[in-house]
Structures are given as C-alpha cells and as structure tokens.
C-alpha cells in the first residue's frame, strides 16, 4: 500500500476491544434466567413428517420446551396471509412454487429444515435433549442438481432479469474469431467465523430486547415488527460487533423469528446458537451456477459480440436472484450484446447474496472468456481489454462518473512483473513447478443511500458521532471517525463513534458496498453543520473573528483561522466556552440527489496473480497477488487495504478450495464443516499487495468515496484460472481448481 501523506493510515478504532477480547458479539450478552435454544434439522431433503417424538426430550433435565410444527408459538404476522416480504415467510414465489414457514407444517422442503427447536436452561442440556427428538418421515425423491433440472429453469420476473439484447446479432455470427465456453461455480458458503443465532427477551407485552447477528439492526427491527405485529419502536436490536457476515446477515432468517416467538411463550430470554453444520443450510449460500459465454471478435481484437447466459439454483419456496450477467452489458465495447439469466427451483434452502454476489460469479466467466479470446487472437490479455475499453457506459449510454482502469492496468502489470509472462502457455518451469501469470477485472455498482447522523461536540473537546449502521468488520467505525476528524479537526482520540443499535439515528444495512458512501457522507454533512455553526459564532457580533466572512474560515487541528489572515484564530474550545455553548448537537438526514440518473457509477478492481502449479500433483499455489481498487477517494487507507486483501483471500478460496458438495441421491451436504469445506488458511495465502488508486469520484458524493467490499473479490477467481492456463496450457472452467483437474500434466 502506498501512503498518502494527507491521509495517513490509522489503527482501527475498535481494534483494542478486538485484540483484548473485550468486544462483545451477540451470543456474549447475558440476561437473568437466560435459556438456550438448539435446532433439530430434518434428515431428508424432500417429503413430510409422519411422526415426531418429543416426550423423551421434554423429560430430559433442564428442558423448558420442545417446539415443533405441532406447537410452535404464534407469529401473528406470518400466520395470517402475508404479502411479499424478503424477510418473512415468503408467500408463494412469483414464479410459482410453495410457501415455507418455519415449524408450521409437515412438509419438508430442504435438508436441515428445522423440525424442532429445543430449549433448556443450559447449552449442554438443550443440545443433549435435541438428540432425543426422533422424527420419522415419508421420503420423496429430492431434486438438488441444477444440471439435471434445467427443464425447470425460469426467467425471474422484473426488468433487471429480463433477457437483454443490444445491436445486431449478425455481428457475432459473422465474426472471424469465435469461442463458446461453459463455466460452473459450485455452492459456496459464507461461513463467517461467528456462528449465527439470536438472543431475545420480551421486556414488556410489546417490547423486545434483541442481540442479533445482523448486517442491519433496523432491518431486523422491522422484520420483527412485521412478524409480531407490534410497533417497531418497542423493539431494540443491538449488533455493535459482528463476527463477519459476507452477506448471510442481509435478512432476518426464520429461525431468528421463531426464537423470538419462543422467548415470548416461555417468558424468559432465549439464546439460539447454531452449529457450524447448520450454517450450511439455514443462513444461505452462493448458488451453484452454470454459465455459457459466446464471444466473437475480428482479427484485430475488436469485440463483435458477447452472449452471456447464466442458470442458477434457487429454493422451491423462494426466488433468489442476483446480477450474474449484468456486468457483461457495460464492461467492454461490443457490437452485439446479449444476456440471459434463469433460475432453477430445487429442493434446497434458499441462497443469499455472498460477497460480490452475482458479479463475482459472472466475472469468473466473462474474465475467463476474455483471456481465452485473447489467447485465440494471440494478443496480450491486457492489450485485448484496452482494445475494447469504454469510457462511457454502453448499456445506458451515459458517462461513467469515474473510471481509472487504464491506470490500474499499468500499475498492476508493473507490480506483478507482467513482462515476465510468456504468451505461450506452459513456458516457465522452476523445478517441479510451472509458473503462470493471469489477471481479471471486477466491477460493482456504487451508490449512495440515506442515513441520519447525529454529532455532539462538547466544549471539553470531545466529539460523539452516532448512526444505527452495523460494522461487520470492514472498519465503518474507523471510516466514520476519520471523516469527522477531517471536517472538524477534533483529535482522533477524542472522537467516539457509536453504531449498531436501533436507539441511534437511522442508518443503512451494511451490504452492497454502500456504507462508506452513505454513512460517510452523512457524517460529513452533520459535522459540516457544526462547523458552520462554529463559524457563525466566531464571526458574529462579539465573536473573536468578528467581521470575517464565515465562508472563508478554515478549521484545522482544533483552530478556526481567518482564511486570508492565518494569525487571526481561535480554538474551538475557547470559542464554545466564550459563547457559553457547552454543547453543539446536530442531527441531519443525508442522501444523494439526481447524480445517479446522470452518471453510471461503479467501483472497479483489477487482480493480478502469479501461480505455481505442481507438474506432478496439479496442486496450485498463488505465489503473488496484486489487488487494485478504483473506488474513488480512500477514506481509511489501512482498513481499505485490509478489505482488499480480505477479498483476495476470499478469491483464493473461490478459485482453489471452496466447494460445498451435495450427495444428490440424498440431497444432503457431505462436507458441511470446516474440516471438509476448505476455506483458505494461512498456508494458502501469500503476501498480497494492494494498490488504492485513491482518486475522488467527482459525482457520487461530496467525499468522492465509493465502496470496495465487493470489488475486492470480483474478478479474482478468473485471474487465478487465467494464470493456471498460462502456467499449464490447461483451461479449467469449473471451480474450484483442485489438483484432480490438473493432475498428470507431465
């Protein structure tokens, strides 16, 4: 990471809490008489319950209740007919299909579906009692394999997912150079380190205190208000620390709502803590997706057509969609463009967006195909991309708000040593290892939502900044601190940020790479209000800078200066004391304007990797990685670099190790634990260099900052696959690139 002298890196503001064990995650809060809830999941993927024996469990020591479809406590908002609601009991999906409501009937729609929730006074007693629940089933044939159920594929409703074409198809059909390739990505599971669950206590007839693992405390509050038909004001949700999310906390899951219902029934606090294996079935996953890319180009490397088709799994009871093919529509100039997106309802639990959601899946196909085409054309892959580079968005016919990918290609190529790459695959060998280089591009929508921030400046020199946003790990609190510091000059150690609680001013969910843009801008707006007030105080009648134009004042390091005469100054503290203002307390709602209609706003990324492939075993090691972010101005350089590194590590997992495998005869996972589902570990990860282009986007928001949570992973897996091809001459189109796919190269 290069350092920007004007914005030096700072340590994470919540870092001390995290390294000392002081940070409290949802399961670590305690309440008097707290009970523990454990889920019993179905052992079949399709069928119905024919009998359920709970007596033994009920009689087991310490058990407070065993809840099944026969006695699940009421959830009023779900039990009556419901309208479309992403967080709740989906009504029948728009595409047709069935309804799933937790513990509400005999039907089993997916493996691991909760069939009982057992509550006891200790975790051990609940866990043991759960083992005593015996369920018998009438089993039906389950369908869990996308490839074998393509006849059920449907196009989801809504303009975003409709088939898309642009230009004349003849351009593609008559292209002198053509390719058609099929790609697949397996089921991947978010698997944040913290196990999922919830802790809930009804503190009054219409009042609930909830400690949750959610990416949006307000979203959880709203979901519970709808489920229990009570005023959201009575519901407090707290998630100050969250042990990772990667998308799995973007909705309120049915078992969370059921736990709250059980807590009401039992009249005491109940804590649900799921097992790691349940994390594979009950909190979503990245869907298995098949893709086809057809591409045509002229001999000079000008793209004449791209067709990108994707077909992904969803649940039989809910339509899950993501923007898998959308990036292809605007990434490169192409005479003809066509995208198609379909989903296949299966006997599976519903997916949820996983880091860089559809785009990461789509970019694997598109950026692999770009590499394949470059090879066919005998062109350098970077040169081929530059040949088809576009400064304006060809999908919407309007300019990008900012795009600095050309600079990225140049800097990335230099950093990885692209000039050492041989265009002929399998040309470099070092002992038993074949060496190759590859790159991939990523992009994700950048936007600005709305948030309210309260800032309280006290004459003792302290500043408190509040917003109900959640920080799942990227460093939102640190970014908020830096923005406030940059506006008001209050020393970093005198700034306190408060977030992750519904009692704070309304803030957005942490998701979709929007938080820095949204909340950062709101912090800036509110702190600017305070600054204006200070300037008025200083320049008004009797003020120390009386007569100066308030607009011309400069605030630096706690001092207000007259812009034209730096010797005229006053410290903020003196000013507040002199003006008899112990506190300046401002709250401001902040949101974007019509800039989103005028410009296409995206963050971009580039990933360059060097791989070693063992000639005998086919084992792949990423030996060097450069990740480049073109995400506007960088607010917090240290945490931003870590975010890019984290995305690259996720990309290594996507490319090389991660695959949740289903035994399709049973419709069940065979590797639903960390021993068998391989997320990257230390040994898989080399030093990773990050390059932050750090150029403000002039339109997105006053800070010029865009998100980078998604772009950090988008395009990385393709970079690895392209490097593996360069090293070996073997093109792997089915992730992950495990040794069995490369064995026997020699």
């Amino acid at each position: 990471m290069e350092k920007n002298p004007k914005n030096p890196p700072i340590d994470r503001v919540d870092g001390r809490m995290k390294v000392t064990g002081g940070a409290k995650y949802f399961a670590e809060f305690e309440m008097p008489k707290m009970a523990y809830c454990v889920i019993v999941g179905s052992t079949i993927a399709r069928g119905s319950i024919t009998g359920i024996q709970t007596k033994k469990a009920e009689a087991s020591p310490g058990v407070l209740g065993v809840f099944t479809h026969l006695n699940r406590p009421p959830i009023p908002g779900w039990d009556s007919p419901v309208t479309g609601n992403a967080n709740g009991p989906a009504p029948a999906p728009p595409s047709g299909g069935e309804t799933y409501r937790i513990l509400s009937g005999k039907e089993i729609l997916f493996d691991g579906q909760p069939v009982a929730m057992v509550v006891a006074d200790t975790f051990e007693r609940a866990t043991y009692a759960a083992s005593l629940v015996k369920v018998s089933y009438a089993k039906q044939t389950s369908h869990t394999d996308v490839g074998k159920n393509l006849s059920k594929a449907i196009t989801p409703k809504g303009p975003r997912f409709a088939d898309y074409t642009r230009g004349d198809r003849k351009a593609l059909e008559s292209a002198p150079v053509q390719l058609e390739s099929n790609y697949s990505i397996p089921i991947e599971v978010h698997n944040p380190m913290e196990l999922h669950g919830i802790l809930a206590h009804w503190t009054g007839p219409e009042e609930i205190m909830i400690y949750a693992k959610t990416q949006g405390v307000m979203a959880t509050q709203q979901a519970m208000a709808r489920a229990f038909k009570i005023d959201a004001k009575g519901i407090r949700v707290h998630t100050e620390f969250m042990g990772g999310g990667f998308g799995m906390g973007l909705r309120t899951w049915p078992q969370e709502v059921a736990t709250v219902a059980i807590a009401r029934k039992l009249g005491r606090p109940v804590k649900l803590l799921m097992t790691r294996s349940q994390m594979f079935t009950l909190v979503g996953h990245r869907p298995y997706t098949l893709q086809t890319i057809r591409m045509g180009a002229d001999a000079n490397g000008k793209l004449l057509g791209i067709v990108h088709e994707a077909t992904a799994e969803t649940a039989s009871y809910e339509d899950f969609t993501e923007a898998t093919v959308n990036m292809t529509r605007f990434m490169y100039e192409s005479a003809y463009l066509e995208t198609r997106y379909k989903i296949v309802p299966l006997d599976r639990s519903v997916p949820i967006w996983m880091r860089g959601p559809g785009e990461a899946t789509g970019a694997f196909a598109l950026e692999s195909a770009m590499d394949e085409m470059a090879h066919q054309l005998k062109m350098d892959p970077i040169e081929f991309r530059l040949k088809n580079y576009t400064e304006t968005d060809p999908e919407r016919n309007r300019p990008f708000s900012a795009k600095n990918l050309k600079e990225g290609y140049e800097r990335g190529a230099k950093a990885i040593g692209w000039n050492q790459r041989k265009s002929e695959p399998a040309s470099i060998r070092e002992g038993d290892w074949l060496v190759g280089y590859g790159m991939g591009t990523g992009t994700f929508n950048a936007s600005r939502g709305q948030a309210t921030v309260r800032a309280i400046l006290k004459s003792d020199g302290s500043l408190t900044v509040q917003c109900a946003v959640t920080d799942i790990g990227p460093g939102t609190g640190t970014a908020m601190t830096l923005v406030a510091h940059q506006v008001l000059g209050v020393p970093l150690d005198r700034i306190k940020v408060e977030y992750g609680d519904t009692t704070l001013p309304p803030g957005p969910m942490q998701g979709g790479s929007t938080v820095t843009s949204t909340v950062g801008s709101a912090v800036m707006d509110t702190c600017t209000l305070i600054k204006k007030e200070l300037a008025q105080l200083a320049t008004g009648a009797g003020g120390p800078l009386q007569g100066q134009n308030p607009e011309d004042l400069v605030l630096e390091e706690g001092q207000l200066y007259a812009g034209n005469n730096p010797s005229k100054k006053v410290s903020l503290l003196e000013l507040m004391q002199q003006s008899n203002m112990p506190v300046i307390d401002k709250t401001q709602l902040s949101k974007g304007g019509d800039e989103q209609q005028k410009y296409s706003m995206y963050s971009f990324s580039l990933h360059f990797v060097q791989v070693n492939v063992h000639a005998l075993t086919g084992a792949v090691k990423v030996t060097k990685a450069i990740s480049i972010a073109d995400a506007g101005r960088i607010v917090s350089p240290k945490t931003a670099a870590s975010q890019m590194i984290g995305g690259a590590v996720g990309g290594i997992g996507m490319a090389l190790t991660e695959e949740a495998l289903i035994d399709h005869r049973l419709g069940r996972f065979v590797n639903n634990n960390f021993g068998d589902y391989h997320v990257p570990v230390h040994a898989d990860v080399p030093a990773i260099e990050t390059i932050l282009i750090d150029k403000p986007d002039p339109y997105i928001n006053p800070m010029g900052a865009k998100g980078m949570g998604e772009i950090a992973i988008i395009g990385f897996a393709a970079a690895v696959a392209n490097a593996v091809f360069n090293a070996t001459g073997k093109r792997i189109r089915d992730l992950p690139i495990t040794p069995d796919k490369l064995i026997g190269l020699v």
Partner: protein, 208 residues
C-alpha cells in the same frame, strides 16, 4: 465429525436412569401426595443437577476458580458461559477453526475439544489474561499495528496461537509461520497482516 451434538452421552443417560430409580425408591417412603408435590416442584431435577455436577478447581489468568461442572461441559463453554470470559470464541465446536485457542499450562489447546473437567489443577490463560492492565501484550499491539483482523472474531484465538507459535520456535520465516500456524481460520482474510504481526514480535525478541 459431529461429536456431542447428536450422540447421546451414555454415562449421563445411565446416571439418569439410576437417579430415576432411586427417586422412585425414595418416593415409596413418602406419602403419594408428597411424591407428586416433589415432582411438581422439580426436586427431581435439582437432585439430578447436584449429582451431575463435578467439582473443578483451576486457575484462569492467574485467578483461582472453584466451580461445579457437568462432565460434558467443554473448557470453552465453561469459560464463556460460567466464568463470563467471552474473549475466547466459539467458531465451530469441532476443533477445526482455532477461534477457541487458549493456553493450558503454557500449551495451546482448542478449548472446544477439551473437557473442562480435564483441566483440574491447570493454569489456563485466555486472551483476557494477556495484557498487563492497560498495557497490551506485544502480540496484541502488533495485531493492532498491522491490522491483523477485520471483524475480530477469530482474533483472540489467532493471538493465542501466535504467541505459542513464537514460543514453540516456529516463527523464523513467513513460510514457516504459514505452514505451522494454519489451524487458525480467518474468514475476513487478514492472514498476510497476521504474518507480519508475528514476524515483528519475533524480530523484537521480547519475552512473551
């Protein structure tokens, strides 16, 4: 794989049967009304609870602790649920992720795979025991400086392993650290920063 989650504990189950029988015998001595009343008040349960609890003495972060635990309680759950030391994290409960790493008599262990009762008389150190008051342990300081975490959930386990990694003499190069230390998963992907933190602490050569 899944150990105590699905398997009934045979010892516990037989003890339960014994207790049921003995309670039944006791009941004969009572009038029927008294037996019903005893059952209604859950005395049965309280008797069972008392029999299932075993006394345990250990030192945690230098402080002597005297507790009663069921034989099936893990060191991890003892620390988190009974001693309220929630810095030690539960990431899988199967000994596969390292988030629960603590030191028992100076050796790193997965506390989720360690039955609490086996730590009788042991010295246990958790993340809460590393800092000296306000002064952070050098490894905590290095994690902060190198940003060796994002969400922070695996961090206590990473730090406890990192300290052990150096003490065990396995921190001489980035390659060695990556190889020896791969039993701690970080899903946010802070690995390169963690390696840098360990290398710095090792290079300083302070006593850990």
């Amino acid at each position: 794989m899944s150990t105590h989650n699905n398997e009934p504990n045979p010892n516990s189950s037989s003890r339960r049967s014994f207790l049921k029988q003995s309670t039944a015998l006791t009941a004969i001595a009572f009038t029927p009304g008294a037996a019903v009343s005893a059952a209604q008040k859950g005395w049965d349960e309280q008797v069972a609870l008392a029999f299932e609890q075993l006394p345990l003495r250990l030192k945690v972060n230098g402080i002597a602790q005297q507790v009663n635990v069921e034989a099936r309680v893990t060191l991890l759950d003892l620390l988190r649920d009974q001693l309220h030391l929630t810095g030690t994290k539960k990431g899988c409960d199967y000994g596969q992720c390292g988030a629960c790493t603590v030191h028992v008599n100076g050796e790193r262990v997965n506390s989720c795979l360690t039955l609490a009762i086996t730590t009788e008389g042991c010295q246990v150190t958790t993340i809460e025991g590393l800092a000296k008051g306000e002064e952070l342990h050098p490894m905590q300081q290095a994690f902060l400086k190198h940003d060796g975490f994002q969400c922070g959930y695996c961090t206590p386990g990473q730090i406890m392993s990192a300290v052990a990694c150096i003490k065990e003499g396995h921190a001489d190069s980035p390659e060695e650290i990556r190889r020896v230390y791969e039993c701690n998963i970080c899903r946010c992907g802070a690995y390169p920063n963690i390696v840098n933190a360990i290398l710095e602490v090792k290079a300083k050569g302070e006593k850990l």
